[in-house]
């Protein structure tokens, strides 16, 4: 019997107010075990206040082949950035 435990990805929120960040993966049979394993493996040095675990197969990743059409178009839309706009110096609070 292949008893290899499924793979899970682990995300940790290091401090209140921050996002969960991907820190690595581990093996567990179910969500409960995954959560506890994550606690035992990835928070030994007070690295977190909150843990998310996700089965690796549930992650959908963008294809690097699509990088051009996915991400290039955003490069020249500089009008989305505040520095594109001129504001006279004597205008405050902007």
């Amino acid at each position: 019997m292949n008893a290899e435990f499924p793979l899970w990805e682990v995300f940790i929120r290091s401090h209140g107010g921050l996002n969960h960040k991907h820190v690595g993966s581990l093996h567990a049979v179910d969500a409960q075990m995954a959560l506890e394993n994550a606690r035992d493996v990835y928070t030994r040095r007070q690295e977190g206040v909150s843990i998310w675990v996700v089965p690796s197969e549930a992650i959908t990743a963008s294809d690097p082949e699509d990088a051009d059409s996915f991400f290039e178009p955003a490069k020249d839309k500089i009008y989305r950035h505040p520095t594109f706009y001129e504001v006279p110096e004597n205008v405050k609070h902007m």
Binding site: F5, L26, H27, A28, Q32, M33, E36, N37, D40, V41, R44
Partner: protein, 246 residues
């Protein structure tokens, strides 16, 4: 109070020491690391109490003097914690039976009239809450896993059942501790402890062993043959090279 403190610390040290024997040999990496965390918690709890005991004694002793320079007859741990790891099921069963007691014990110890003891208990309680959760889950997984795992954990629970009585049977110094206000009344937690044990065994689809003769003696220094070997290994360096700094 010294006897009482040594009893608490010795329980934690010997149990933590036993569990540390698994390091590097666990059934999976994640499990290995979890058991080591529990072991570190237990030894840490022992250190806190030994330090306090040494201070109270006022003879300039250290935590290491208490841990490494007493012989078996002077140890006050219960028999349960010195039982060998044997297989994973026996280890889980040993910790499960201890944690159910320890969780409710630490809860009550938080109300100790001794501020230091209460503070130590508050910290320990957080750790022990996780130990109880982790070990209970494994009892359930093994009990309701495969036929082999069910047989193994049932055997382990049966084998260790006669050691759980001692946990809830007070020695003279424990009765004194309760009278003085700093100790935990074991009768007061008995119902909760047993209820929790039975609840988990049920969830694990395991049978409750018959209550028979309960082993005892550890609390007053009459141990099983195991403790001698544990101490021989643990204390060797300090005994072979006395008066040295490590």
């Amino acid at each position: 109070m010294q006897q009482y403190l040594l009893h608490l610390a010795d329980n934690a040290l010997i149990l933590g020491h036993r569990l540390s024997e698994w390091c590097g040999h666990g059934p999976a990496l994640e499990i290995d690391m979890a058991m080591t965390n529990i072991s570190l918690d237990l030894i840490g709890q022992a250190r806190n109490i030994y330090e306090y005991a040494a201070k109270l004694e006022g003879q300039g002793k250290t935590e290491d003097d208490l841990a490494y320079l007493r012989d078996a007859t002077d140890f006050r741990n219960v028999l349960l914690v010195e039982q060998p790891n044997s297989d994973f099921a026996h280890t889980i069963a040993r910790h499960f039976l201890y944690d159910t007691y320890n969780f409710y014990f630490q809860q009550k110890l938080c109300e100790s009239s001794d501020k230091q003891l209460a503070a130590i208990a508050e910290k320990s309680l957080k750790e022990v809450a996780y130990h109880l959760r982790w070990n209970s889950e494994w009892v359930i997984r093994l009990g309701d896993g495969t036929p082999e795992s069910k047989e193994r954990i049932q055997t382990a629970i049966n084998d260790l059942w006669s050691f759980r009585g001692e946990l809830l049977t007070p020695a003279a110094y424990e009765k004194d501790a309760v009278a003085a206000g700093y100790g935990v009344d074991l009768l007061g937690i008995k119902k909760d402890v047993e209820h929790r044990i039975f609840e988990v065994l049920d969830q694990a689809t395991l049978l409750r062993p018959e209550d028979g003769w309960m082993q005892s003696g550890g609390k007053i220094g009459r141990h099983s043959e195991h403790l001698g070997f544990i101490l021989a290994e643990m204390q060797f360096l300090q005994r072979a090279y006395p008066n040295s700094t490590w």
